[in-house]
């Protein structure tokens, strides 16, 4: 269970989504999404493979355009945002990719420096090094600083990916399946890291997963994506206190006891 109880401001939504729809060719993936992410909370989005979880956060970060509906991020409506504003907004949002997406031609140090050097022009060498070491220390991987991504394990890559987004001090973190493909112990370490980030950097986060341990450990609120809509939103127990045939198996198969 989650130990840390964050301060959540329910009157202050950093992300507000209304009536969001997205289809690929003739396949409607998102069919009317309504969602609020409140200041300071960890919101877990659960859903089966292919339900459009990645599509949802790609829309939030402006990588994909919605077909319909409004998406407001940190007070900016994405539909009417200019290129410059989007650029500035993206710096305030951290995106941890499903497959880490480390730049594999660069060392860990260069990977972490990259967003910093290119977004903050007047930093000294010393300040850059300091920031790099600080976030690497936060994810517990200071010793890998001079390694190439290819030399890291999957769990290490995930952490470096998270570190790379933390270096810009984001206000919102989007985690796409942070624990997928990792062993149970590494999963728990990543979950703890997510909570630590929430506590230390005061971020509001959306965590996408189909791992219920991750959902339970990190989520202040759970939202279940079913048939292109959020059908059940609430605490972990509220969401799973149901006989809905689409929700129950999710729970049953996750904790085989």
């Amino acid at each position: 269970m989650k130990k840390f109880k964050p301060h959540i401001d329910n009157n202050n939504a950093v992300i507000r989504i209304r009536g969001l729809k997205k289809a690929f060719e003739d396949y409607a993936v998102l069919r009317g999404i309504d969602l609020d992410l409140y200041q300071g909370e960890n919101l877990v989005v659960l859903g089966r493979s292919g339900t459009g979880k990645s599509v949802l956060i790609k829309i939030i970060s402006g990588l994909l355009k919605p077909d319909e509906g409004s998406v407001e991020v940190l007070g900016h409506e994405l539909e009417t945002i200019t290129e410059e504003e989007l650029q500035a907004l993206r710096i305030r949002i951290g995106f941890s990719f499903q497959n880490s997406a480390l730049y594999d031609s660069m060392t860990v140090r260069k990977n972490l420096e990259f967003p910093l050097v290119r977004n903050r022009k007047n930093l000294t060498r010393k300040e850059i090094d300091h920031s790099v070491e600080e976030v690497l220390d936060a994810v517990g991987l200071l010793k890998t600083i001079n390694q190439m991504p290819a030399e890291l394990s999957g769990g290490q890559r995930k952490r470096i990916g998270i570190a790379r987004t933390l270096i810009l001090n984001p206000e919102i973190m989007l985690y796409d399946e942070p624990t997928a493909g990792l062993d149970p112990i590494t999963c728990i370490e990543i979950n703890e890291l997510i909570n630590e980030v929430q506590e230390r950097f005061k971020t509001s986060s959306i965590i996408i997963t189909h791992d219920l341990t991750c959902a339970k450990m990190t989520g202040d609120r759970i939202a279940m994506l079913l048939d292109g809509q959020f059908q059940r939103v609430g605490s972990f127990d509220e969401v799973f206190d149901t006989n809905d045939e689409r929700v129950k198996p999710f729970f049953d198969y996750n904790f085989i006891q």
């Binding site: 710096i91 997406a101 730049y103 594999d104 967003p115």
Partner: protein, 267 residues
């Protein structure tokens, strides 16, 4: 028999129509891609360091092969041209002939084709794998303008480096020609060089230069386009690399013909 042809025909036609639309859609997209390049490449910051790095990559990737090919092309071309000239007792024209062939046509073309194979394919594969593994998306969401950093720098680098390499190829090929002439006719180096530069005009230099600039730009933009827009999946990377080479070579031949035509009007 009859029924099989009558059913297969519409399928063929349908496939052709789809292919044709795809072709025009592709053409339109490349057009947008090029426009975007011009829009983003010439506003600061100019990424000089990365451009230099990419120029270096272009040079390193193709230097050995270009040196070897250039030398052999010069040597063989001279050797093979000798018999037809000696029939008229005109082997003394050999240096001029070699020089015109190399400087007007062979050096830019050979350089561009080799660079399309070595540099174009590796740009396609590199950007393709960055697209597939979402590294380009990762740059996008961290506000770091991947188009400028990845595409503009590479296109500028090939556009700068290919003309330099083509000049180098020209001299290496002339060296090959000189060695052949020197061993057969015993021509001295100064005489050879005099005869080499005699037939060349200003138009020749300018058109060769423009040609290799256009070739360099083509190799860069095609490689980047293929990689940057590559399909998801590992298959996409191979397709991007392959597409970069095939399309670039095709365009290089088309451009060669066009530029030679246009240069002809100025002679």
């Amino acid at each position: 028999m009859d029924s099989s042809t009558s059913t297969s025909q519409p399928i063929v036609r349908k496939g052709l129509k789809k292919r044709l639309t795809n072709f025009f859609v592709r053409l339109y997209q490349i057009h947008l891609f090029i426009l975007r390049f011009f829009k983003e490449a010439f506003v600061p910051p100019f990424e000089l360091k990365e451009i230099m790095n990419q120029c270096y990559q272009v040079g390193v990737r193709s230097f050995t092969l270009i040196s070897l090919t250039g030398f052999i092309v010069g040597l063989i071309f001279t050797k093979q041209s000798r018999p037809s000239l000696s029939e008229f007792g005109a082997t003394s024209w050999l240096p001029s002939l070699v020089s015109i062939a190399i400087m007007r046509a062979l050096a830019p073309l050979v350089t561009a084709l080799i660079a399309a194979g070595k540099v174009g394919s590796s740009i396609g594969a590199e950007l393709g794998s960055m697209r597939v593994t979402e590294q380009i998306d990762a740059m996008e969401v961290s506000g770091t303008k991947p188009f400028k950093f990845l595409v503009c720098t590479r296109v500028l680098a090939t556009t700068i480096a290919i003309p330099i390499l083509a000049t180098y190829t020209g001299f290496i090929a002339l060296l090959g020609g000189y060695l052949n002439v020197a061993t057969n006719e015993g021509t001295s180096y100064t005489t050879f060089m005099q005869q080499v530069f005699e037939p060349l005009t200003f138009v020749d230099f300018v058109s060769s230069l423009i040609k290799s600039i256009v070739f360099g730009f083509t190799i860069g933009i095609v490689g980047c386009y293929q990689g940057y827009n590559s399909d998801k999946g590992t298959e996409g990377v191979g397709k991007a690399a392959n597409g970069a080479v095939v399309t670039a070579m095709f365009l290089i031949f088309v451009e060669e013909v066009l530029i030679v035509q246009i240069a002809g009007w100025f002679r």
